[in-house]
């Protein structure tokens, strides 16, 4: 199978061409993020929890502020100019997302609260139309709980069965098992692009083409990946793709479900309410056109305006330049962490991005996290909403450092120095 990087690179050649000349000027970029100049427990903030959520650049903060100062009104339903301005901001965000993902049409871009709601939407709507007793849903052993539990709920409702592609000791998918597990009973494959717990980059293009040959649709959980590599839904040829604004330097509370129009047309609404209807009588309701059929209630309009700013920001820096910077940083961090006695990296797949998860001897990850906290270093400790991954590697929890476009080698050094302090305290 080809690697994901080679498959995405070919199709994003144009984007790469415009950004290839640019290397990331990290010192300049850091000045765009006001929070990076703050302190934590009296030390300069070293923010290494980007897989959890990213910090926001000035442009995103300003877009939110500007929306409420100058553009705020409800959308799609009023006759005055301010409502037109707000509608244009929101529908402009949809077009911005379409371009970002290289979707064919804005009809394929549904706004949600985030990745979790996007996956629940598919589990609920696709599930009620196409999944019945005896069918199977196929996921992987490295899914976030948000790509496990919606399918378990669907299986409980319908009598379908959840199947899981296992992961090997390095934290890579055992793809031979995909061939065994994807059968005529499989109704959908839902796979994470970039694992939040392990940093594994999965070969989703290859998975999609294998499933496509069997006529099985694929959902890609791109919550982690969109901030770290260029994602092109036509090149991936996936049927659904989900991501969240807040992991992409944008606001919380807004996310995206991309769905191929041919599927979205066939799927029933997810929630009922205002804005998703064409006409309502007590006898019969007809639904709005795509994508509005899936967007009941007042949308996160300010979130849309801010998401546009985030996508503009990331695109201007260039995802290839961001990816190159983060790849270098991950390699540096991996090498520096290996210097520490007793440190074990959890997840050493050949293809990784932006995440390094580890345990330090028998010191509990929460104690590691607290010591790092006193040094101003913010990392995530715990199971990362991926308990099956922790079970697979026989640990209750890990420490996870995850990098974003603004992180530096000096911050990795601060992490390593903090870990040496853990050793001083715990021996």
């Amino acid at each position: 199978m080809s690697t994901p990087s080679s498959t995405t690179t070919a199709t994003t050649a144009t984007r790469a061409a415009t950004a290839a000349t640019a290397t990331l000027d990290v010192a300049r970029v850091r000045r765009d993020f006001p929070i990076l100049a703050t302190t934590a427990r009296g030390k300069p903030l070293v923010y290494l929890d980007n897989a959890n959520t990213t910090q926001k650049p000035e442009a995103v903060i300003r877009a939110t502020d500007r929306f409420y100062r100058e553009q705020n009104a409800n959308i799609h339903r009023s006759s005055y100019v301010l409502s037109e301005v707000a509608t244009a901001a929101y529908e402009g965000a949809r077009e911005r997302v379409r371009a970002f993902l290289n979707a064919r049409s804005t009809r394929e871009v549904v706004f949600t609260r985030g990745t979790t709601e996007a996956i629940n939407l598919v589990a609920s709507s696709f599930g009620s139309a196409f999944v019945k007793e005896g069918d199977e849903i196929l996921i992987t052993g490295m899914e976030h709980h948000s790509n496990i539990v919606p399918w378990q709920l669907l299986c409980a409702r319908t009598g379908a069965t959840l199947r899981v592609i296992p992961i090997d000791d390095r934290g890579a998918l055992v793809l031979d098992d995909l061939h065994r597990l994807l059968t005529e009973r499989t109704k959908l494959v839902s796979v994470v692009h970039l694992s939040n717990a392990l940093g594994t980059l999965n070969p989703v293009r290859a998975i999609v083409s294998y499933a496509r040959a069997k006529g099985v649709p694929v959902l890609v959980d791109a919550a982690q990946s969109v901030a770290h590599l260029a994602v092109d839904v036509q090149a991936l040829d996936c049927d659904f793709l989900a991501f969240s604004g807040h992991k992409l330097y944008g606001p919380t509370g807004i996310g995206v479900l991309y769905g191929k129009e041919s599927w979205l047309e066939k799927m029933p609404p997810y929630q009922g309410g205002g804005d998703m209807i064409a006409s309502v009588t007590f006898e019969k309701t007809t639904y709005a056109e795509l994508p509005h059929k899936f967007e009941a209630g007042t949308s996160n309009v300010a979130g849309g305006a801010a998401l546009t700013a985030a996508l503009d920001y990331v695109t201007a820096l260039g995802l290839p330049a961001i990816a190159a910077h983060e790849k270098e940083l991950l390699a540096y961090a991996t090498a520096r962490l290996a210097e520490l006695p007793g440190l074990r990296i959890i997840g050493q797949a050949p293809e990784k991005a932006s995440v390094v998860s580890f345990v330090l001897g028998d010191v509990h990850p929460h104690d590691v996290g607290t010591v790092l906290d006193t040094e101003g270093v913010a990392v995530r400790t715990g199971h990362h909403c991926a308990q099956p991954v922790m079970d697979r590697f026989g640990v209750p929890a890990t420490v996870r450092a995850s990098f974003g476009l603004y992180n530096t080698r000096e911050e990795v050094d601060a992490l390593v120095a903090g870990l040496r302090k853990v050793r001083e305290v715990f021996g």
């Binding site: 509990h364 929460h366 104690d367 607290t370 715990g382 199971h383 209750p396 929890a397 305290v425």
Partner: protein, 151 residues
């Protein structure tokens, strides 16, 4: 650095390395299971309460972070020989030390060795680690059976 040395005092590190009353208690007549799903901490508590309502022996098993393990260990030492009511009252004072009104409990001396946990106050995310054993004890004394979770 002050926060760190206040939190991981030598007594806590010592009880983490060498927890007291660690193991099963075959003649226990009360038991409880505590679980912190956020970090995977798990502990089983065994208690023997005399007919007069006194905790005459107590032990625990499990795994967890330094704070939760040391807290369980120090708790077993603190409540051994106390009546159920006294143990519950001590839990109340311990809770006040960690998360009660500003200034902590009215009489910190009444906490004895448990006062080493005062540093946890600065780290609100760790309060649950320190109180897991106590919540489990409370549940075991109340009849138990059900798993106690922090969430």
């Amino acid at each position: 650095m002050t926060g760190l040395t206040d939190l991981y005092q030598e007594v806590i590190l010592d009880h983490n390395r060498a927890p007291r009353n660690f193991g099963a208690l075959p003649d226990a007549n009360r038991s409880g299971i505590g679980h912190n799903p956020l970090c995977g901490d798990q502990l089983t508590l065994y208690v023997h309460v005399s007919e007069g309502g006194r905790i005459d022996s107590i032990a625990f098993q499990g795994k967890g972070c330094a704070i939760s393990k040391a807290s369980a260990s120090l708790m077993t030492e603190a409540v051994k020989g106390k009546t159920v009511e006294e143990a519950e009252a001590l839990f109340g004072r311990f809770h006040d030390l960690l998360a009660g009104p500003e200034g902590g409990p009215a009489d910190p001396k009444a906490l004895g060795k448990l006062a080493v946990f005062s540093g946890v106050r600065e780290f609100p995310t760790r309060v649950k680690c320190a109180t897991l054993a106590w919540h489990t004890l409370h549940s075991a004394l109340a009849g138990g059976g059900k798993e106690t979770t922090t969430e």
